[in-house]
């Protein structure tokens, strides 16, 4: 009497006795092993299983209820044993004897050997790779990283080198890879070795020169050549790792910086005109960019332009390390395409904004200064200015309450007045926009408060304009026209605003008494 098992084979239900079940299981496992490395292995196995079920169904259709060993063996005979399958090399393994241990790819215990055949230096990493079932490249990579970033690793390598024996005999080599050591495998291995040796004998003609060298006792050169070769291979991998690590770091920080910038960070501390200023870009972007998307386009565009070169360095490094197998083709084109995209985005962002600054207009106001004396004092007008601003002298400032923006974009020029006998102050308001009349309106709306009393002309360092007008390079040029034989004294505080006159610089002109004589400024003591 035998036990029976209910099985589902390819979707059909069978009742099989225990012998048949065991045999079937062996068969299916063997198939699994045979196609382990094949693409679409699941599909193939499903097909075979379905077909097996079909044949089995035909076998038991003669009133027998239970699938017996005989049935299974018969169907196996029809389908073929796994080793009878002609694989992609057209060969079948039918040459092997397959008594009860048909399927010889059992993973026996692996032993840790040094792999002399696949070594870069000593085969330590290759051997480790076999033992753990990882590609040796990763182990080498990890080792190199350890050596360069942590410092140790060389010592470990030496220790492993001494401990791990080299796999010399064929049996040892098979044990290293975990293949069963039996006659068949050894036979194959020996065959392969034979062919390798024969091949090297065949190339003997080409190697004659090299061999003469060696015969003459210059094994030294041979060894150096080998060392050089290993060194080059070794170095290229090190360089590859270096490239990956460095570009990786850079990309990491760049990515963080750009993401932070887009998320709203972006407070910069810079030194402008000798003043330490701190400002947040996102506060000012709305004043520059007409459209909300422009700054984003520019930032993303810049990010792509800057980061992609580093990505390509990293890809290069990966190529070196993986012996040019790691990067798929066409990757370079994709990178380049993205870089071009960055350029395009950047250009769109910039061009849109540049247009807003393309036209310039000037609005001029003339003012005659009624001075009672022949000497005019010029001082700084600080009325109405915020305390903090006065103290820190920031170049720009937003007055949120009144919706105004303050800039210290005011220049003071000195001119020789030939047309009248009085001091004159000319205010030139300048602004940019996409259209000229718009620029003109913006220029007109620039606000500059100057006043004159007690022989002193008070001139502000800051101009202001409406926030709604946006920042369009508003600046003011003040021209102080001095008639013949009149004198001036410009307060020291204005020296940064002063343009040079003739051969006197701004800071030379300030804080001194000057008299205008025929267009020349002469110092008065």
């Amino acid at each position: 009497m035998k036990k029976t098992v209910t099985i589902n084979l390819g979707g059909s239900i069978f009742t099989a006795d225990e012998d048949a079940f065991a045999r079937l299981q062996d068969y299916l496992n063997a198939l699994e092993r045979k196609f382990k490395q094949t693409e679409s292995k699941d599909e193939i196995l499903d097909d075979i299983e379905s077909r097996f079920a079909e044949l089995l169904l035909a076998e038991i259709n003669t009133n027998t209820r239970v699938v017996t060993l005989t049935h299974v063996e018969k169907v196996i005979g029809i389908m073929g044993r796994p080793e009878d399958f002609e694989d992609d090399n057209g060969e079948s393994d039918a040459g092997q004897q397959h008594e009860n241990q048909f399927y010889n790819y059992i993973n026996t215990r692996k032993k840790l050997y040094r792999d002399g055949d696949n070594r870069v230096i000593g085969g330590v990493c290759a051997g480790l790779g076999h033992y753990f079932g990882i590609d040796a490249v990763w182990i080498r990579l990890a080792w190199l990283l350890a050596v360069f970033s942590l410092g140790f690793g060389v010592l470990i390598y030496f220790i492993l080198y001494l401990i791990m024996p080299k796999a010399r005999t064929t049996a040892e080599k098979l044990e290293m890879q975990g293949k069963a050591v039996n006659i068949d495998n050894i036979g194959k291995k020996v065959d392969a070795e034979f062919h390798r040796i024969r091949k090297s004998f065949e190339n003997i003609d080409e190697k004659k020169v090299e061999q003469r060298f060696r015969k003459a006792g210059n094994q030294f050169f041979g060894a150096i050549a080998q060392i050089a070769q290993f060194f080059i291979r070794f170095m290229s991998k090190i360089i590859g790792v270096g490239m990956i690590v460095i570009s990786g770091f850079i990309l990491f920080f760049l990515a963080i910086a750009f993401i932070a910038l887009i998320a709203g960070a972006g407070t910069f501390n810079t030194n402008i005109n000798g003043v330490n200023t701190s400002f947040s870009v996102w506060e000012w972007f709305p004043l520059i960019f007409e459209h909300a998307y422009s700054p984003y386009l520019i930032i993303v565009g810049t990010a792509l332009i800057v980061m992609i070169p580093f990505v390509s360095i990293m890809a290069g490094g990966i190529s070196f390390v993986s012996s040019f197998k790691g990067i798929p083709r066409g990757f370079g084109m994709i990178l380049f395409g993205k870089w071009i995209l960055g350029v395009i985005l950047f250009a769109i962002g910039i061009v849109g904004t540049a247009n807003d600054f393309s036209q310039k207009a000037v609005y001029t106001e003339n003012q005659v200064i009624e001075n009672t004396s022949d000497t005019l004092f010029i001082a700084l007008n600080t009325s109405g200015l915020n305390e903090e601003l006065l103290q820190n002298q920031w170049p720009f400032w937003q007055d949120e309450e009144n919706g105004m923006v303050l800039l210290n974009n005011v220049r003071l020029n000195i001119e020789y007045n030939t047309t009248s006998n009085a001091f004159e102050l000319q205010k030139k308001f300048k602004a940019h926009a996409s259209k000229t009349n718009d620029a003109h309106s913006k220029a007109k709306r620039i606000y500059l408060q100057s006043n004159h009393f007690e022989n002193t002309l008070h001139v502000p360092a800051y101009l202001s304009f409406l926030k709604d007008d946006m920042w369009r390079n508003q600046h003011v040029e003040l021209v102080l026209r001095i008639p013949n034989n009149k004198s001036i004294h410009i307060d020291y505080q204005l020296y940064t605003m002063l343009e040079p006159y003739k051969n006197f610089s701004g800071d030379e002109l300030a804080d001194r008494f000057w008299i205008m004589k025929q267009g020349e400024l002469i110092e008065l003591n």
């Binding site: 193939i44 379905s50 169904l57 389908m79 002609e86 024969r198």
Partner: protein, 110 residues
């Protein structure tokens, strides 16, 4: 490899021929695997069923063959394979090659 391996050479011959025969069989109609085996057997090209499945799958992955499922009253559903457009082009080329080769073989074995 410089040495001569009889088994290898025979196998190489069989492999090329097998694929060509299978594709030829399907130029007129679609077939399912056991049909293909029977056809091959009657053409005296004996091949074990298990060899066929990986081969057919490989051809399907290379877009030379395509298949459709058909339910069968007596058992599990079947895959009916047929040539794709690309498969037909390929078959044409193989046919030319085969003719060239067989003429060459004939000439050489006189």
């Amino acid at each position: 490899m410089a040495d001569f391996n009889l088994e290898n050479t025979k196998a190489q011959m069989r492999k090329g021929v097998l694929e060509y025969c299978i594709l030829s069989l399907m130029q007129h109609k679609e077939m399912y695997p056991s049909e293909i085996i029977d056809a091959l057997r009657s053409a005296k090209l004996i091949v074990v069923e298990g060899t066929l499945y990986p081969l057919l799958t490989r051809l399907k992955n290379a877009n030379i063959l395509s298949y459709r499922w058909e339910e069968s009253k007596s058992g599990p559903p079947r895959k009916y394979y047929q040539l794709t457009q690309e498969g037909r082009l390929l078959l044409g080329e193989l046919k030319e090659t085969w003719n060239e080769l067989s003429k060459a073989v004939e000439t050489c074995s006189k």
